[in-house]
């Protein structure tokens, strides 16, 4: 039965759940008592009532100097903990919009109290029942990775892939991660993880690598170089020979992508015959020296 109670009495009641509420009707509606009556639950008739939901309403009504609040009291046995939680989730009136950390807290509470949430409720929380396990996956992440995911700076799939990176290393890398775009951040963490795995780096060594990257001007490029040393050497060989040779000539020679294939591409433009002659001469000189480089780059022969 809905009844009125003194705000002062309700304000002293502890919340049943440790979750942050987000929904609160507008002041005008509150003044006109257009809000759901606050469920109060006297679980065992010894410790008094707890507020199932509505703490924000109580706070706001107090600020509005309203003296009384609409409540609905449940006695011992009139409500179960799962029903109370379902009530809490329902009264929040959110359609989606649950943050990863809120879902984590809910998940942990549900697990701890062995509450089974009905499918429609799970759907309202995470889109579908099947997505509930993603919350469990989120919980497996280290604190800094959880933070990146909950701040939408990293997708859960990548975070799961790199979850064994020591958290201290991720903390150390924070300034670098902040400076990267979303997709660069994904690539960076993936590369970092792969280097840690490949080189079997323990936590202190991972931290050293993070520190080293922190102090380079182009951390992503540097990490790429560490992850792909052979490819990097091929690229360096190419730049040192072909690019240096052609510097300032307006001629561009592009090797096959990742040196996969044998076709090199030449690009240049010209306006007059003498320009073309100069380019042709440059290319003639290049053709006399490029074969050993090509051998090395695409065939692997020294």
């Amino acid at each position: 039965m809905v009844q009125s109670m003194s705000i002062g009495d309700v304000a002293f009641m502890p919340p049943l759940f440790p979750f942050q509420e987000s929904f609160c009707p507008l002041a005008d509606l509150l003044k006109r008592e257009l809000y759901p009556p606050l469920p109060l639950w006297d679980r065992d008739s010894h410790e008094g009532c707890t507020i199932v939901w509505g703490q924000r309403i109580v706070e706001k009504l107090s600020k509005l100097h309203v003296k009384e609040v609409l409540v609905r009291k449940f006695g011992p046995g009139e409500l179960s903990l799962p029903e109370a939680l379902i009530l809490w989730i329902g009264l929040e009136q959110r359609k989606g919009g649950w943050s990863w950390t809120e879902l984590r807290d809910l998940y942990q509470y549900v697990q701890e109290h062995r509450i089974s949430l009905p499918e429609p409720l799970l759907t309202s929380l995470v889109g579908s029942e099947g997505n509930w396990h993603r919350v469990e996956q989120f919980i497996q992440l280290s604190e800094p990775l959880q933070q990146l995911v909950s701040e939408e700076k990293l997708d859960l799939k990548t975070a799961l892939r790199v979850k064994s990176i020591p958290p201290q290393a991720i903390e150390q890398l924070k300034p670098v991660l902040e400076s990267l775009s979303y997709s660069e951040r994904r690539i960076f963490l993936r590369l970092f993880y792969e280097v840690v795995q490949r080189d079997r780096l323990e936590s202190p060594q991972s931290l050293d690598l993070a520190t080293r990257l922190l102090h380079t001007s182009k951390p992503l490029e540097e990490l790429y170089r560490i992850r792909y040393p052979s490819l990097h050497r091929l690229q360096e060989t190419y730049h040192e020979t072909v690019d240096t040779f052609l510097k300032g000539t307006g001629i561009k020679v592009t090797p096959p992508p990742y040196f996969e294939g044998t076709q090199f591409r030449v690009e240049f433009s010209f306006e007059k015959g003498n320009q073309l002659q100069r380019k042709a001469l440059t290319l003639q000189k290049l053709s006399e020296t490029i074969d050993p480089v090509i051998e090395k780059l695409v065939y692997g022969t020294e």
Binding site: Q197, R198, L231, Y258, E260, G261, T262, K296, G300, T301
Partner: protein, 354 residues
């Protein structure tokens, strides 16, 4: 080697009375099973490789290897007898599409035999290389179902058909007494000993495979060996040398071909593979979208294998799913222009798997 650790068995109604099913049930001690009209009726909790699903073919039974865009394919024909594999190799390409499927046995090989016979008759001057090892291990479950026997017997009279049974097991004993073997080939996937021990699940050891090869050759079978996937790791040359050295035990004249293929994977497969040390080598995307070692590295690896194996045998050695550029770098030409490989690579008209 686990071959009958199935937790559930399902079959389609027509498969119940097939001789292969009856034989398997007898050897398994008449286990409990359930009849389903369709694999989709198998409950989700049983859609895994611990479940055995026995059925017969519906529709197409023989396919041409789909090949790989921008890479040369040997135009192999494939028959699905066994779909899925429980050996548990960490690099298995089937993980990208078969993980959530039961181990499937197509227990009626007759349509496949008739199809190959028809193709062989239609193309009498072409070599037909046919294998059952594309979607599963040819011999892992074969001692139970004995499906290779009717294939061997049914194709034995066709001199242009080379039936290849490819395996990582030693399950050859049940095939030794077949009197007419035709051109049947027992083929073994080989790898470095370290790779087998660490990455090839419950497969037979390399030594055991070579011993099985010797046994098969003594019974009159031709042999083939597939170094695939070749993996680069510290001391890979020494490790693969050991395997190659073991092949000296095999009569060289019995080896019909050897194939080489370095490790490759699609991005989707990579996402499904458990992180293993060999996956942290340097891989780059190739024209078919698969990741492979850097081209110069692959070329050097293939050249090394070719040199080592050529000292052992003059049998055709070919590359599996490699680019024209790599072929030219390793062999100086493409397979269709190499006498010893032309027959192997010449295809016949046949549908590829969609």
């Amino acid at each position: 080697m686990a071959q009958n650790s199935f937790t559930k068995i399902y079959l389609t109604p027509e498969a119940e009375t097939l001789p292969a099913t009856q034989r398997a049930f007898r050897l398994l001690g008449y286990p409990a099973y359930r009849i389903v009209g369709d694999p989709m009726e198998i409950p989700p909790q049983d859609q895994n490789q611990n479940t055995l699903f026995i059925t017969s073919h519906r529709g197409q039974t023989v396919y041409k290897c789909p090949g790989s865009r921008g890479h040369l394919c040997c135009n192999y024909l494939t028959i699905d007898l066994y779909l899925g594999c429980s050996l548990g190799c960490t690099y298995c390409i089937m993980k990208s599409y078969l993980n959530f499927s039961p181990l499937t046995v197509y227990a009626d090989p007759a349509p496949s035999i008739h199809r190959i016979q028809a193709l062989a008759q239609k193309n009498p001057h072409r070599i037909l290389r046919v294998g059952t090892g594309e979607t599963g291990d040819s011999l892992l479950l074969d001692p139970l179902f004995d499906l290779s026997r009717p294939l061997i017997e049914g194709l034995a009279d066709f001199p242009n058909v080379y039936l290849e049974l490819k395996t990582k097991t030693t399950h050859v004993d049940h095939l030794l007494d077949i009197p007419k073997k035709g051109n049947a080939i027992i083929a073994f996937s080989l790898n470095a000993k370290e790779m087998q021990e660490r990455e090839e699940g419950t497969s037979a050891s390399i030594e055991e495979r070579v011993s099985a090869a010797v046994k098969a050759s003594e019974a009159g079978y031709n042999l083939a060996f597939h170094f695939d996937p070749i993996v680069r790791f510290a001391n890979w040359k020494e490790s693969y040398s050991y395997t190659i050295e073991l092949l000296k035990k095999v009569p060289a004249h019995r080896i019909r071909w050897i194939s080489l293929g370095t490790l490759r994977f699609t991005p989707a497969l990579r996402d499904r593979l458990e992180d293993r040390p060999y996956l942290f080598e340097e891989f780059v995307p190739c024209r078919d979208g698969k990741y492979r070692y850097l081209q110069p590295i692959r070329i050097q690896m293939y050249k090394w294998f070719l040199k080592e194996l050529s000292m052992l045998t003059d049998t055709p050695i070919y590359l599996c799913m490699e680019s024209v550029d790599v072929w030219k770098a390793v062999y100086g030409d493409t397979p269709m222009k190499i006498d010893a490989l032309r027959d192997i690579f010449m295809g016949i008209p046949c549908k590829t798997r969609s």
